[in-house]
Protein backbone atom coordinates (compact mmCIF):
# COMPACT_ATOMS: atom_id res chain seq x y z
CA UNK A 1 0.00 0.00 0.00
CA UNK A 2 1.10 3.53 -0.73
CA UNK A 3 0.46 6.43 1.60
CA UNK A 4 -0.90 9.85 0.73
CA UNK A 5 -0.87 12.25 3.67
CA UNK A 6 -2.69 15.57 3.90
CA UNK A 7 -1.80 18.08 6.62
CA UNK A 8 -4.74 20.30 7.58
CA UNK A 9 -8.48 19.58 7.32
CA UNK A 10 -9.66 23.11 6.58
CA UNK A 11 -11.17 24.20 3.28
CA UNK A 12 -8.27 23.02 1.09
CA UNK A 13 -7.43 19.78 2.89
CA UNK A 14 -11.07 18.70 3.10
CA UNK A 15 -11.62 19.36 -0.61
CA UNK A 16 -8.47 17.43 -1.52
CA UNK A 17 -9.31 14.40 0.59
CA UNK A 18 -12.77 14.23 -1.01
CA UNK A 19 -11.36 14.57 -4.53
CA UNK A 20 -8.56 12.07 -3.99
CA UNK A 21 -10.60 9.37 -2.26
CA UNK A 22 -12.62 9.21 -5.50
CA UNK A 23 -9.61 9.52 -7.77
CA UNK A 24 -7.23 6.99 -6.20
CA UNK A 25 -7.90 3.20 -6.00
CA UNK A 26 -8.56 2.10 -2.40
CA UNK A 27 -6.57 -1.07 -2.91
CA UNK A 28 -3.42 0.87 -3.73
CA UNK A 29 -3.62 4.10 -1.76
CA UNK A 30 -4.18 4.78 1.93
CA UNK A 31 -5.35 8.33 2.63
CA UNK A 32 -4.66 10.06 5.94
CA UNK A 33 -5.54 13.59 6.99
CA UNK A 34 -4.25 15.30 10.15
CA UNK A 35 -5.71 18.30 11.96
CA UNK A 36 -5.46 19.39 15.58
CA UNK A 37 -8.96 20.93 15.58
CA UNK A 38 -12.31 19.22 15.95
CA UNK A 39 -14.28 22.04 14.35
CA UNK A 40 -14.46 23.06 10.70
CA UNK A 41 -15.22 26.78 10.52
CA UNK A 42 -17.04 28.52 7.67
CA UNK A 43 -14.55 31.36 7.61
CA UNK A 44 -16.48 33.69 5.25
CA UNK A 45 -19.08 33.79 8.04
CA UNK A 46 -16.62 35.50 10.41
CA UNK A 47 -17.43 38.71 8.52
CA UNK A 48 -21.13 38.45 9.40
CA UNK A 49 -20.83 37.20 12.97
CA UNK A 50 -19.74 40.54 14.54
CA UNK A 51 -22.85 42.27 13.13
CA UNK A 52 -25.28 39.61 14.38
CA UNK A 53 -26.07 38.70 10.75
CA UNK A 54 -24.98 35.11 11.40
CA UNK A 55 -25.25 33.06 14.55
CA UNK A 56 -22.34 31.02 15.87
CA UNK A 57 -24.00 27.79 14.69
CA UNK A 58 -23.89 29.08 11.08
CA UNK A 59 -20.10 29.02 11.02
CA UNK A 60 -19.06 25.75 12.67
CA UNK A 61 -19.52 22.03 12.17
CA UNK A 62 -17.56 18.93 13.15
CA UNK A 63 -14.53 18.24 10.93
CA UNK A 64 -15.31 14.52 10.81
CA UNK A 65 -18.64 15.15 9.04
CA UNK A 66 -16.76 16.11 5.88
CA UNK A 67 -14.13 13.39 5.80
CA UNK A 68 -15.24 10.57 3.46
CA UNK A 69 -15.25 6.90 4.38
CA UNK A 70 -12.00 5.07 3.77
CA UNK A 71 -9.84 7.93 5.07
CA UNK A 72 -7.93 7.99 8.36
CA UNK A 73 -8.57 11.18 10.32
CA UNK A 74 -5.95 11.90 12.98
CA UNK A 75 -6.71 14.72 15.44
CA UNK A 76 -3.33 15.67 16.80
CA UNK A 77 -0.86 18.54 16.58
CA UNK A 78 1.87 18.33 13.96
CA UNK A 79 5.41 18.79 15.15
CA UNK A 80 7.29 18.85 11.86
CA UNK A 81 7.88 17.40 8.42
CA UNK A 82 11.07 15.39 7.96
CA UNK A 83 11.36 15.74 4.20
CA UNK A 84 14.63 13.80 4.04
CA UNK A 85 12.95 10.66 5.37
CA UNK A 86 9.51 11.29 3.83
CA UNK A 87 7.70 11.35 7.13
CA UNK A 88 5.75 13.62 9.45
CA UNK A 89 6.29 13.67 13.19
CA UNK A 90 3.28 14.42 15.36
CA UNK A 91 3.38 16.11 18.75
CA UNK A 92 2.63 12.79 20.46
CA UNK A 93 5.83 11.45 18.76
CA UNK A 94 3.92 9.25 16.31
CA UNK A 95 5.61 9.07 12.93
CA UNK A 96 3.58 9.05 9.73
CA UNK A 97 5.32 7.78 6.62
CA UNK A 98 4.21 9.13 3.24
CA UNK A 99 4.79 8.63 -0.46
CA UNK A 100 3.02 11.88 -1.31
CA UNK A 101 2.45 14.81 1.06
CA UNK A 102 -0.02 17.67 0.60
CA UNK A 103 0.42 20.70 2.86
CA UNK A 104 -2.88 22.48 3.51
CA UNK A 105 -2.19 24.06 6.90
CA UNK A 106 -3.48 27.49 5.86
CA UNK A 107 -2.62 30.80 7.43
CA UNK A 108 -3.15 32.17 10.94
CA UNK A 109 -3.19 35.61 12.48
CA UNK A 110 0.03 36.55 14.27
CA UNK A 111 -0.82 39.57 16.47
CA UNK A 112 2.36 38.92 18.44
CA UNK A 113 4.31 40.24 15.45
CA UNK A 114 3.15 43.82 16.16
CA UNK A 115 4.44 45.42 19.37
CA UNK A 116 1.62 46.12 21.82
CA UNK A 117 -1.13 44.44 19.82
CA UNK A 118 -1.56 41.49 22.16
CA UNK A 119 -1.92 42.13 25.84
CA UNK A 120 -4.42 43.64 28.22
CA UNK A 121 -6.31 45.56 25.50
CA UNK A 122 -6.74 42.55 23.23
CA UNK A 123 -10.47 41.74 22.94
CA UNK A 124 -11.27 44.85 25.01
CA UNK A 125 -10.51 47.73 22.62
CA UNK A 126 -8.41 45.83 20.03
CA UNK A 127 -10.05 43.02 18.04
CA UNK A 128 -9.51 40.78 15.06
CA UNK A 129 -12.36 39.16 13.13
CA UNK A 130 -10.29 36.50 11.33
CA UNK A 131 -10.77 33.93 14.09
CA UNK A 132 -13.92 32.51 15.64
CA UNK A 133 -12.89 33.89 19.05
CA UNK A 134 -12.16 37.32 17.61
CA UNK A 135 -15.40 37.57 15.64
CA UNK A 136 -17.48 36.43 18.62
CA UNK A 137 -15.82 38.79 21.08
CA UNK A 138 -16.19 41.65 18.63
CA UNK A 139 -19.90 40.87 18.26
CA UNK A 140 -20.31 41.13 22.04
CA UNK A 141 -18.39 44.41 22.07
CA UNK A 142 -20.44 45.94 19.23
CA UNK A 143 -23.72 45.02 20.90
CA UNK A 144 -23.01 47.50 23.70
CA UNK A 145 -20.56 49.94 22.09
CA UNK A 146 -21.77 53.51 22.31
CA UNK A 147 -19.79 54.88 19.39
CA UNK A 148 -16.60 56.84 18.78
CA UNK A 149 -13.67 56.33 16.45
CA UNK A 150 -13.79 52.96 14.70
CA UNK A 151 -10.52 52.18 12.95
CA UNK A 152 -10.53 49.22 10.54
CA UNK A 153 -6.92 48.33 9.92
CA UNK A 154 -4.68 46.02 7.86
CA UNK A 155 -1.27 45.39 9.47
CA UNK A 156 0.64 44.11 6.46
CA UNK A 157 0.14 42.22 3.22
CA UNK A 158 -0.47 39.47 2.26
CA UNK A 159 -3.63 38.69 4.21
CA UNK A 160 -6.31 36.07 3.81
CA UNK A 161 -9.34 37.34 1.88
CA UNK A 162 -7.83 40.75 1.05
CA UNK A 163 -11.22 42.45 0.60
CA UNK A 164 -12.65 41.36 3.96
CA UNK A 165 -11.43 44.45 5.89
CA UNK A 166 -13.11 46.72 3.37
CA UNK A 167 -16.30 44.64 3.57
CA UNK A 168 -16.10 45.00 7.34
CA UNK A 169 -16.02 48.79 7.01
CA UNK A 170 -18.99 48.73 4.59
CA UNK A 171 -21.04 46.45 6.83
CA UNK A 172 -20.16 48.58 9.87
CA UNK A 173 -21.66 51.60 8.09
CA UNK A 174 -24.85 49.62 7.45
CA UNK A 175 -24.93 48.23 10.98
CA UNK A 176 -24.63 51.61 12.71
CA UNK A 177 -27.23 53.19 10.38
CA UNK A 178 -29.65 50.39 11.27
CA UNK A 179 -28.95 50.95 14.96
CA UNK A 180 -29.67 54.67 14.50
CA UNK A 181 -26.20 55.67 15.70
CA UNK A 182 -24.19 56.26 12.51
CA UNK A 183 -23.72 59.93 13.53
CA UNK A 184 -21.91 58.75 16.66
CA UNK A 185 -19.34 56.67 14.75
CA UNK A 186 -16.35 57.80 12.68
CA UNK A 187 -15.17 55.02 10.36
CA UNK A 188 -11.55 55.13 9.17
CA UNK A 189 -9.95 52.50 6.94
CA UNK A 190 -6.18 52.24 7.41
CA UNK A 191 -4.06 50.27 4.94
CA UNK A 192 -0.36 49.72 4.13
CA UNK A 193 -1.33 49.76 0.44
CA UNK A 194 -1.51 52.96 -1.61
CA UNK A 195 -5.31 53.00 -1.34
CA UNK A 196 -8.42 50.98 -0.47
CA UNK A 197 -8.39 49.89 -4.11
CA UNK A 198 -5.15 49.68 -6.06
CA UNK A 199 -6.16 48.23 -9.44
CA UNK A 200 -7.22 50.84 -12.02
CA UNK A 201 -10.64 49.41 -13.04
CA UNK A 202 -11.69 48.68 -9.47
CA UNK A 203 -10.62 52.15 -8.31
CA UNK A 204 -12.62 53.74 -11.11
CA UNK A 205 -15.72 51.64 -10.41
CA UNK A 206 -15.69 51.53 -6.64
CA UNK A 207 -14.19 54.68 -5.14
CA UNK A 208 -17.68 56.22 -4.88
CA UNK A 209 -18.57 53.61 -2.24
CA UNK A 210 -16.15 55.11 0.26
CA UNK A 211 -17.50 58.62 -0.22
CA UNK A 212 -21.10 57.47 -0.18
CA UNK A 213 -20.56 55.63 3.09
CA UNK A 214 -18.43 58.40 4.60
CA UNK A 215 -15.44 56.14 5.22
CA UNK A 216 -12.13 57.94 5.52
CA UNK A 217 -9.11 56.16 4.00
CA UNK A 218 -5.56 56.49 5.33
CA UNK A 219 -3.18 54.76 2.87
CA UNK A 220 0.55 53.91 3.11
CA UNK A 221 0.36 53.27 6.85
CA UNK A 222 2.83 50.60 7.95
CA UNK A 223 2.18 49.88 11.59
CA UNK A 224 5.10 49.70 13.99
CA UNK A 225 3.23 49.45 17.28
CA UNK A 226 -0.07 49.72 19.11
CA UNK A 227 -0.22 52.07 22.08
CA UNK A 228 -3.13 50.40 23.86
CA UNK A 229 -2.97 52.70 26.87
CA UNK A 230 -3.46 55.87 24.81
CA UNK A 231 -5.51 54.10 22.10
CA UNK A 232 -3.25 54.96 19.17
CA UNK A 233 -1.58 53.07 16.36
CA UNK A 234 1.80 54.37 15.25
CA UNK A 235 3.62 53.64 11.99
CA UNK A 236 7.31 53.54 11.04
CA UNK A 237 7.11 57.14 9.81
CA UNK A 238 5.83 58.14 13.33
CA UNK A 239 2.34 58.91 12.00
CA UNK A 240 -0.29 58.36 14.72
CA UNK A 241 -3.96 57.40 14.42
CA UNK A 242 -6.30 57.50 17.39
CA UNK A 243 -9.07 54.98 17.92
CA UNK A 244 -11.74 54.06 20.42
CA UNK A 245 -12.25 50.67 18.82
CA UNK A 246 -9.51 49.08 16.72
CA UNK A 247 -10.56 46.26 14.41
CA UNK A 248 -7.30 45.04 12.97
CA UNK A 249 -6.18 42.33 10.62
CA UNK A 250 -2.90 41.29 12.27
CA UNK A 251 0.06 40.00 10.28
CA UNK A 252 -0.93 36.70 8.62
CA UNK A 253 1.54 33.81 8.81
CA UNK A 254 1.66 30.19 7.75
CA UNK A 255 1.76 27.44 10.37
CA UNK A 256 4.76 27.40 12.73
CA UNK A 257 5.16 23.72 11.81
CA UNK A 258 6.49 24.91 8.42
CA UNK A 259 9.21 26.87 10.19
CA UNK A 260 10.06 23.90 12.43
CA UNK A 261 10.38 21.79 9.28
CA UNK A 262 13.12 24.07 8.02
CA UNK A 263 11.46 25.45 4.91
CA UNK A 264 9.01 28.22 4.18
CA UNK A 265 9.58 31.90 3.50
CA UNK A 266 9.77 34.75 6.05
CA UNK A 267 6.04 34.35 6.71
CA UNK A 268 6.16 30.52 6.92
CA UNK A 269 4.53 30.01 3.52
CA UNK A 270 5.55 26.99 1.45
CA UNK A 271 7.54 27.79 -1.72
CA UNK A 272 5.27 26.43 -4.45
CA UNK A 273 5.24 26.39 -8.26
CA UNK A 274 2.52 28.87 -9.17
CA UNK A 275 1.18 26.84 -12.11
CA UNK A 276 1.56 23.18 -11.01
CA UNK A 277 1.17 23.49 -7.17
CA UNK A 278 4.15 21.20 -6.62
CA UNK A 279 6.35 22.58 -3.86
CA UNK A 280 9.88 23.58 -4.75
CA UNK A 281 10.99 21.89 -1.51
CA UNK A 282 10.82 18.31 -2.80
CA UNK A 283 9.05 16.58 -5.71
CA UNK A 284 6.70 14.49 -3.56
CA UNK A 285 5.49 17.50 -1.53
CA UNK A 286 2.60 19.59 -2.85
CA UNK A 287 0.87 22.60 -1.33
CA UNK A 288 -2.54 24.20 -1.69
CA UNK A 289 -4.56 27.16 -0.49
CA UNK A 290 -3.42 29.75 2.03
CA UNK A 291 -0.34 27.68 2.98
CA UNK A 292 1.40 28.41 -0.34
CA UNK A 293 3.49 31.44 -1.26
CA UNK A 294 1.64 31.91 -4.58
CA UNK A 295 1.04 35.50 -5.69
CA UNK A 296 -2.71 34.76 -5.76
CA UNK A 297 -5.36 35.81 -3.23
CA UNK A 298 -5.55 33.73 -0.09
CA UNK A 299 -9.21 32.80 -0.48
CA UNK A 300 -11.53 29.81 -0.54
CA UNK A 301 -12.36 30.26 -4.22
CA UNK A 302 -8.66 30.12 -5.11
CA UNK A 303 -8.30 26.92 -3.07
CA UNK A 304 -11.33 25.47 -4.86
CA UNK A 305 -9.85 26.13 -8.32
CA UNK A 306 -6.45 24.88 -7.16
CA UNK A 307 -8.02 21.65 -5.84
CA UNK A 308 -9.29 20.64 -9.29
CA UNK A 309 -5.87 21.19 -10.83
CA UNK A 310 -3.92 19.65 -7.95
CA UNK A 311 -6.07 16.49 -8.10
CA UNK A 312 -5.18 16.12 -11.78
CA UNK A 313 -1.50 16.75 -11.05
CA UNK A 314 -1.37 14.20 -8.21
CA UNK A 315 -2.73 11.60 -10.63
CA UNK A 316 -0.14 12.62 -13.23
CA UNK A 317 2.65 12.52 -10.64
CA UNK A 318 1.66 8.96 -9.67
CA UNK A 319 1.60 7.92 -13.34
CA UNK A 320 4.99 9.53 -13.93
CA UNK A 321 3.56 12.04 -16.41
CA UNK A 322 4.52 15.68 -16.74
CA UNK A 323 2.49 17.96 -14.45
CA UNK A 324 -0.06 20.34 -15.97
CA UNK A 325 1.00 23.97 -15.66
CA UNK A 326 -2.60 24.97 -15.51
CA UNK A 327 -3.29 27.10 -12.45
CA UNK A 328 -3.74 30.71 -13.57
CA UNK A 329 -4.37 32.38 -10.20
CA UNK A 330 -8.15 32.34 -10.76
CA UNK A 331 -10.05 33.99 -7.92
CA UNK A 332 -13.74 34.77 -7.57
CA UNK A 333 -14.98 36.83 -4.62
CA UNK A 334 -18.18 38.39 -3.48
CA UNK A 335 -17.69 41.73 -1.75
CA UNK A 336 -20.44 42.76 0.65
CA UNK A 337 -21.13 46.48 0.42
CA UNK A 338 -23.91 46.66 3.03
CA UNK A 339 -27.66 47.38 2.76
CA UNK A 340 -28.31 44.03 1.09
CA UNK A 341 -25.98 44.57 -1.83
CA UNK A 342 -22.72 43.05 -2.96
CA UNK A 343 -20.15 43.16 -5.73
CA UNK A 344 -18.57 40.22 -7.49
CA UNK A 345 -15.03 40.11 -8.86
CA UNK A 346 -13.44 37.42 -11.04
CA UNK A 347 -9.76 37.69 -11.93
CA UNK A 348 -6.42 35.84 -12.17
CA UNK A 349 -2.65 36.38 -12.05
CA UNK A 350 -2.70 38.68 -15.06
CA UNK A 351 -6.29 39.85 -15.59
CA UNK A 352 -7.43 42.57 -13.18
CA UNK A 353 -11.11 42.64 -12.08
CA UNK A 354 -13.31 44.29 -14.76
CA UNK A 355 -17.04 44.82 -15.37
CA UNK A 356 -19.19 42.18 -17.04
CA UNK A 357 -21.58 39.31 -16.34
CA UNK A 358 -21.07 35.98 -14.57
CA UNK A 359 -21.15 33.01 -15.02
CA UNK A 360 -23.08 33.24 -18.34
CA UNK A 361 -21.56 35.78 -20.76
CA UNK A 362 -24.04 38.59 -21.49
CA UNK A 363 -26.69 37.09 -19.20
CA UNK A 364 -25.42 36.86 -15.66
CA UNK A 365 -27.37 36.61 -13.42
CA UNK A 366 -24.47 38.03 -11.43
CA UNK A 367 -22.76 41.31 -12.32
CA UNK A 368 -19.03 41.84 -12.13
CA UNK A 369 -17.59 44.90 -10.38
CA UNK A 370 -21.07 46.35 -9.83
CA UNK A 371 -23.23 46.57 -6.70
CA UNK A 372 -26.42 44.51 -6.98
CA UNK A 373 -28.89 42.77 -4.70
CA UNK A 374 -28.49 39.60 -6.79
CA UNK A 375 -24.78 39.47 -5.93
CA UNK A 376 -25.67 39.68 -2.24
CA UNK A 377 -28.08 36.76 -2.68
CA UNK A 378 -25.19 34.91 -4.33
CA UNK A 379 -23.00 35.51 -1.30
CA UNK A 380 -25.70 34.24 1.08
CA UNK A 381 -26.33 31.18 -1.10
CA UNK A 382 -22.64 30.48 -1.02
CA UNK A 383 -22.85 29.25 2.60
CA UNK A 384 -25.05 26.36 1.46
CA UNK A 385 -22.78 25.69 -1.51
CA UNK A 386 -19.75 25.67 0.80
CA UNK A 387 -21.10 23.12 3.30
CA UNK A 388 -22.89 20.92 0.75
CA UNK A 389 -20.80 21.06 -2.41
CA UNK A 390 -17.51 22.91 -2.19
CA UNK A 391 -15.69 21.14 0.62
CA UNK A 392 -17.18 17.79 -0.39
CA UNK A 393 -15.35 18.21 -3.69
CA UNK A 394 -18.47 18.37 -5.86
CA UNK A 395 -18.08 20.30 -9.09
CA UNK A 396 -19.81 23.69 -9.03
CA UNK A 397 -21.70 23.96 -12.35
CA UNK A 398 -20.68 26.59 -14.93
CA UNK A 399 -17.64 27.79 -12.99
CA UNK A 400 -14.33 26.50 -14.35
CA UNK A 401 -10.97 26.31 -12.65
CA UNK A 402 -9.39 28.51 -15.30
CA UNK A 403 -10.71 32.04 -15.57
CA UNK A 404 -13.11 32.64 -18.48
CA UNK A 405 -12.64 35.88 -20.44
CA UNK A 406 -16.09 35.69 -22.09
CA UNK A 407 -18.58 38.06 -20.45
CA UNK A 408 -15.84 40.39 -19.29
CA UNK A 409 -15.31 43.92 -20.61
CA UNK A 410 -11.63 43.58 -21.26
CA UNK A 411 -9.61 46.36 -22.82
CA UNK A 412 -6.01 45.91 -23.65
CA UNK A 413 -4.15 47.00 -20.56
CA UNK A 414 -0.55 46.71 -19.59
CA UNK A 415 0.07 46.60 -15.88
Amino acid sequence: MKELLILGAGTSGTMMVNHLRKALPKKEWNLTIVDQEETHYYQPGFLFLPFDLYKTKDVKKKIEKFIPKGVNLIQEKIDRIDKGNDNVILKNKDILKYDILIIATGTNIAPQEIEGMLGEHWYKSVFDFYTYEGAKNLRNKLRTWEGGKLVVHISEMPIKCPVAPLEFAFLADSYFINKGMRDKVDITFVTPMSGAFTKPKATEALNYLLEQKNIKVIPDFNIERVDGENKKIIDYAEEEIEYDLLVTVPTNMGDEMIERSGFGDELNYVPTDKNTLQSTVKDNIFAIGDATNLPASKAGSVAHFEAEILTENIKRYIEGKELKKEFDGHSNCFIETGHGKALLIDFNYTQEPVKGTFPFPGIGPLSLLKETHMNHMGKLAFKWIYWNMLIKGKHIPFVSAKMDTAGKQIEETIN
Binding site: P162, F197, T198, P200, Y236, P295, F347, I414, N415
Partner: protein, 104 residues
Protein backbone atom coordinates in the same frame (compact mmCIF):
# COMPACT_ATOMS: atom_id res chain seq x y z
CA UNK B 1 -2.32 53.28 -20.78
CA UNK B 2 1.37 53.39 -21.57
CA UNK B 3 3.40 56.59 -21.62
CA UNK B 4 6.81 57.08 -23.19
CA UNK B 5 9.18 59.08 -21.02
CA UNK B 6 12.69 60.30 -21.67
CA UNK B 7 15.22 60.15 -18.87
CA UNK B 8 18.52 61.69 -19.92
CA UNK B 9 19.14 60.14 -23.32
CA UNK B 10 16.98 57.07 -22.80
CA UNK B 11 13.37 56.61 -23.78
CA UNK B 12 11.41 54.19 -21.56
CA UNK B 13 7.78 53.09 -21.32
CA UNK B 14 5.87 53.73 -18.08
CA UNK B 15 2.33 53.23 -16.84
CA UNK B 16 0.21 56.26 -15.96
CA UNK B 17 1.64 56.25 -12.43
CA UNK B 18 5.20 56.49 -13.69
CA UNK B 19 6.25 52.88 -13.05
CA UNK B 20 8.39 51.26 -15.74
CA UNK B 21 6.50 48.57 -17.66
CA UNK B 22 9.66 46.69 -18.65
CA UNK B 23 12.53 46.20 -16.21
CA UNK B 24 14.94 45.45 -19.07
CA UNK B 25 14.73 49.12 -20.12
CA UNK B 26 16.07 50.19 -16.71
CA UNK B 27 19.54 51.65 -16.27
CA UNK B 28 21.13 53.23 -13.23
CA UNK B 29 20.78 56.65 -14.93
CA UNK B 30 17.04 56.10 -15.38
CA UNK B 31 16.79 55.09 -11.70
CA UNK B 32 18.68 58.21 -10.63
CA UNK B 33 16.39 60.46 -12.71
CA UNK B 34 13.26 58.86 -11.22
CA UNK B 35 14.79 59.30 -7.75
CA UNK B 36 15.20 63.03 -8.47
CA UNK B 37 11.49 63.24 -9.33
CA UNK B 38 10.79 61.60 -5.96
CA UNK B 39 13.09 64.10 -4.24
CA UNK B 40 15.67 61.49 -3.23
CA UNK B 41 19.43 61.86 -3.47
CA UNK B 42 20.74 58.35 -4.12
CA UNK B 43 23.62 56.93 -2.07
CA UNK B 44 25.31 53.51 -2.11
CA UNK B 45 22.88 52.37 0.59
CA UNK B 46 19.94 53.32 -1.64
CA UNK B 47 21.41 51.36 -4.56
CA UNK B 48 21.97 48.27 -2.42
CA UNK B 49 18.25 48.23 -1.64
CA UNK B 50 17.35 48.84 -5.29
CA UNK B 51 19.55 45.93 -6.43
CA UNK B 52 17.91 43.65 -3.88
CA UNK B 53 14.38 44.63 -5.02
CA UNK B 54 15.23 44.01 -8.68
CA UNK B 55 16.75 40.67 -7.84
CA UNK B 56 13.60 39.58 -5.98
CA UNK B 57 11.40 40.83 -8.82
CA UNK B 58 13.34 38.75 -11.38
CA UNK B 59 12.81 35.69 -9.16
CA UNK B 60 9.06 36.53 -9.07
CA UNK B 61 9.09 36.82 -5.28
CA UNK B 62 6.27 39.08 -4.09
CA UNK B 63 7.67 42.00 -2.08
CA UNK B 64 6.52 43.44 1.21
CA UNK B 65 8.00 45.84 3.74
CA UNK B 66 8.56 42.86 6.08
CA UNK B 67 10.41 40.95 3.37
CA UNK B 68 12.74 43.89 2.86
CA UNK B 69 13.15 44.32 6.64
CA UNK B 70 14.17 40.66 7.02
CA UNK B 71 16.45 40.63 3.96
CA UNK B 72 19.55 41.55 5.95
CA UNK B 73 20.05 44.44 3.48
CA UNK B 74 18.21 47.12 5.45
CA UNK B 75 16.00 47.37 8.57
CA UNK B 76 12.44 48.68 8.25
CA UNK B 77 13.42 51.82 10.17
CA UNK B 78 16.31 52.52 7.79
CA UNK B 79 14.15 51.68 4.78
CA UNK B 80 11.84 54.49 5.90
CA UNK B 81 14.77 56.84 6.38
CA UNK B 82 16.10 56.08 2.90
CA UNK B 83 12.74 56.36 1.12
CA UNK B 84 10.42 58.38 3.38
CA UNK B 85 6.61 58.20 2.94
CA UNK B 86 5.83 54.84 1.39
CA UNK B 87 9.29 53.27 1.05
CA UNK B 88 8.25 50.22 -0.98
CA UNK B 89 6.12 52.24 -3.38
CA UNK B 90 8.87 54.79 -4.01
CA UNK B 91 11.79 52.36 -4.12
CA UNK B 92 9.87 50.09 -6.52
CA UNK B 93 9.41 53.01 -8.90
CA UNK B 94 13.13 53.86 -8.77
CA UNK B 95 13.99 50.18 -9.27
CA UNK B 96 11.82 49.98 -12.39
CA UNK B 97 9.69 47.15 -10.99
CA UNK B 98 5.87 47.08 -10.72
CA UNK B 99 4.08 48.94 -7.95
CA UNK B 100 2.97 46.53 -5.20
CA UNK B 101 -0.78 45.94 -5.56
CA UNK B 102 -3.64 44.18 -3.80
CA UNK B 103 -6.30 42.19 -5.64
CA UNK B 104 -8.70 45.07 -6.39
Amino acid sequence: MVIEKTYGELCVTCNEQGYLTDLSQWTKEVGAEIAKEEGIEMTDRHWEVINYLQDQCRKEVPLSIRKVGKSGIVSIKEFYQLFPKGPLKISSRIAGIPKPVSCI
